[in-house]
Symmetry: C2
Subunit: 219 residues, 2 copies
Amino acid sequence: LIELVEVTRVYPLPSGDVVALDRVSLTIHEGEFVAIMGPSGSGKSTLLNQLGCLDRPTSGDLFIRGKNTREMNDRELTGLRLNTIGYIFQRFNLIPLLTAYENVEYPYLMKHREPDYTGRVDSLLGMVGIDPPMAAHKPPELSGGQQQRVAIARALVNDPALILCDEPTGNLDSVTGRQIMEMLAELHRKGRTILMVTHDAEVAGFAERTIVMKDGRVI
Amino acid sequence: LIELVEVTRVYPLPSGDVVALDRVSLTIHEGEFVAIMGPSGSGKSTLLNQLGCLDRPTSGDLFIRGKNTREMNDRELTGLRLNTIGYIFQRFNLIPLLTAYENVEYPYLMKHREPDYTGRVDSLLGMVGIDPPMAAHKPPELSGGQQQRVAIARALVNDPALILCDEPTGNLDSVTGRQIMEMLAELHRKGRTILMVTHDAEVAGFAERTIVMKDGRVI
Ligand SMILES: Nc1ncnc2c1ncn2[C@@H]1O[C@H](COP(=O)(O)OP(=O)(O)OP(=O)(O)O)[C@@H](O)[C@H]1O
Ligand SMILES: Nc1ncnc2c1ncn2[C@@H]1O[C@H](COP(=O)(O)OP(=O)(O)OP(=O)(O)O)[C@@H](O)[C@H]1O
Ligand SMILES: [Mg+2]
Ligand SMILES: [Mg+2]
């Protein structure tokens, strides 16, 4: 499904270049459930951003279903991101002025060009334990874990084939965290490809294999 | 040191009042190391904000060293927050336009009215594994765990007697997380009072006792 070939990502900063990814090569097959672990600052989020086409390499190539992303125009990439890929960001990236409901509905609106009359948004929010009264709140009015769960529902609203999660249970108690992992495991059983950054070995245990990073390299 | 008596905190929202804390009474003694656990949304962060005088109760009373906070004026409360209490927020709350170094120095500046010539800021950043080149970066240029570590250094810069941590290791790999916990344990050995929200039982193990919350009550 996804192939990285010698991908390097450098962040040029006044105080000196940061090599976040250092000639990383790896292949993710359709339907895999892969965990990504490694010390803080080792490049996990940067790797996920590359795999999810949110960011381009400084050098090296990224192939999606055999096609090199360098040959894709913005429309193609946007289509990929909207229809095929769901993101659960480490910092959630919810829109503070929209309610939880509106945050989850947003990608649906962008894809279907009309509000959700199917009840999908409500049902997804219910699955992550956010009831309708809570869904009317804005992110600043929600607890950390409630925000995280809204971010998870949003990532799934367009039923993406590829799901990218960056510390999906970081702010959740173990019971809620387990429920979320069961949900992801179920989606995996139904054929979705899941790439998950986590520092929790128990959470990594839900994956089929684990990629370990260190200083921008896969070890 | 701190005493809560029948503290209730209600968030009034258009969709209906949220009772985040429901008649909570508890006492924290000088030099204790207390963990606070409970499901997502159970009121842990709200409780921490009350204990740290960042927020006032809707009803009930809060006593610091025997004095009722209702009788404290803003100057007194500000003094408390600046000199006595250190906060590690769940969302870090770093200032995105300042470098990591400047973020940590900020409370020092506010307290001493002059820059840090003692090297304390550098040494604290070193203790949390942020070297000088990294300290020149701004929060958006740092990984999640690096931001968390900067937030920890900032909380400690004025050597507070009371340290409040809201999920201090949520974004850290287990090795770095352990280093942070050793640091907090050391501060506790030296007499600091530590109140720590965590959903990680292993992290809670560093504390002397655990308060468990559910639906805004201590159970
Ligand atoms: N600023 C706010 N305005 C309105 N409601 C709020 C606000 N902050 C929190 N709440 C609500 O109060 C309740 C308790 O929130 P709190 O943040 O204390 O929970 P928590 O235990 O820290 O959760 P988590 O483990 O998810 O961080 C939640 O239901 C939340 O939606
Ligand atoms: N936008 C950015 N600009 C500059 N440097 C960055 C940026 N984002 C990340 N970095 C740097 O790149 C390196 C890798 O960051 P990354 O966020 O991928 O690490 P991570 O493994 O996700 O860490 P964590 O576990 O702490 O979230 C870090 O040293 C970080 O400081
Ligand atoms: Mg990260
Ligand atoms: Mg919280």
